[in-house]
């Protein structure tokens, strides 16, 4: 039971042109920086990326966009990215925008073997076009389906050889959900520890969901909106 691979290059083995990937993170917080770099380097193309955001022009998924490696983005919010907007408005990039809670639950249900569920989010909007509507307790809901993704790539704070993960602060976000949802899940961690070092009672992602793990390096952890208050 040793899921450790050497590095990001080894971790992304098997990711091919045209595949669907889930990538954890919210904004630039908790994104798998090492694997994104490896995907850029390997120049894998025509990717469908399920990720809450699309990074910024020169960081996160923005790096894949720059190289035009992404065919389709499935996200909830894609502001703050000029290159993205350009590719989308010009039609080069296919974009599926979906409500953030629906995005999260579609990941969660993918990992949980629940193929479809009803949610109130998006009823009466263009998100509901072509979707089944059903009333529960007098309120309209739409039918949404679990995602399918060949690979999920997540970033954790600490992880062990068995794939158990813990996240730090709001860098958790979509990461544990996507970890459950990938057919193959790759976790890059800031610190790789031995089994038993993480308290079994406080594991965020049980190892069963993770197939490959490695200790990443040179995390930049860029801050998108640095906001502070004066010292008195």
């Amino acid at each position: 039971m040793n899921k450790v691979v050497a590095n990001a290059q080894a971790a992304i083995e098997g990711i091919k042109d045209g595949m669907t990937l889930m990538l954890g993170g919210f904004g630039l917080c908790g994104i798998p920086e090492n694997c994104i770099s490896a995907l850029v380097e390997a120049n894998i193309r025509d990717l469908t990326c399920i990720s809450n955001n699309a990074g910024v022009d020169d960081f996160g998924l923005g790096l894949l966009l720059q190289q035009k490696q992404i065919k389709k983005m499935i996200s909830s919010y894609v502001g703050e990215n000029d290159e993205f907007e350009r590719q989308m408005l010009s039609g080069e990039l296919e974009v599926d925008l979906i409500p953030q809670g629906t995005l999260a639950t579609r990941c969660q249900m993918a990992g949980a073997g629940i193929p479809a569920f009803f949610t109130p989010a998006g009823y009466g909007t263009e998100v509901a076009f072509g979707k089944e509507v059903r009333y529960f307790d007098g309120k309209p809901h739409i039918l949404e389906h679990a995602f399918e993704a060949e690979f999920a790539i997540v970033k954790a704070w600490k992880g062990d050889r068995f794939g158990n993960l813990i996240f730090k602060g709001t860098a958790r976000n979509f990461n544990p959900l996507m970890a459950m949802a990938g057919k193959i899940t790759i976790a890059e961690v800031e610190e790789l520890v031995e089994p038993g070092e993480l308290d079994a009672n406080f594991i965020h992602t049980p190892g069963v969901f993770v197939q490959r793990i490695f200790q990443g390096s040179n995390y930049e952890k860029r801050i998108e909106q640095r906001t502070v208050r004066p010292r008195n």
């Binding site: 919010y77 502001g79 809670g101 999260a104 602060g169 709001t170 208050r229």
Partner: protein, 217 residues
Amino acid sequence: MLDKNGIAKRIAQELQDGWYVNLGIGIPTLVANHIPKDINVVFQSENGILGMGPFPYEGEEDPDLINAGKQTITAMPGSSIFDSATSFAMIRGRHIQLTVLGAMEVADNGDIANWKIPGRMVKGMGGAMDLVASAENIIVAMMHTNKRGQSKLLRQCTLPLTGVSCVKKIVTNMAVLEVTDKGFKLLERAPGVSVEDIQKATEGRLIVEGEIPEMSL
């Protein structure tokens, strides 16, 4: 006429002790600066924190601790961190007592549009559609008119909708209004703003009944 902080201050008066509150990006974020001293509210940010505190002191920013606007934040004692599915469980499951968000347009039946201008701006809805579809108590914080002076309180939204018949109350730089079966009911005027000013700036059906008091801020 109120400025953005004035709008936030007026909305802060709506808060009740013990409430869990989700504040959207923009004017809603400012509400946190005006909480009455005698009440405790807990702020939820949909990226996964309950008990959001003020911005950090310079040098204490943590890239792993941000809000839904991607701003660096702090966490209050008694806060909790969770994944995005749990966060939206709170929202869809109606565990949050108040949602405050901005809007481009609100219709007099409570419809709201705030995520897309076809062909020009498509940033995405983020968590707004989940919030408006589920929240029992939604206040919209916005300017009464857009940059071209056109009313944002309409008979019908012209932009793609975020949610239908969901907005309960609107606080603008000019007025406080409630959404009723018959349209926007005028509740309060901003200081120095007349009922006529509000009527002129409101395209949707406006209900004016009796004397309309001025806001007390």
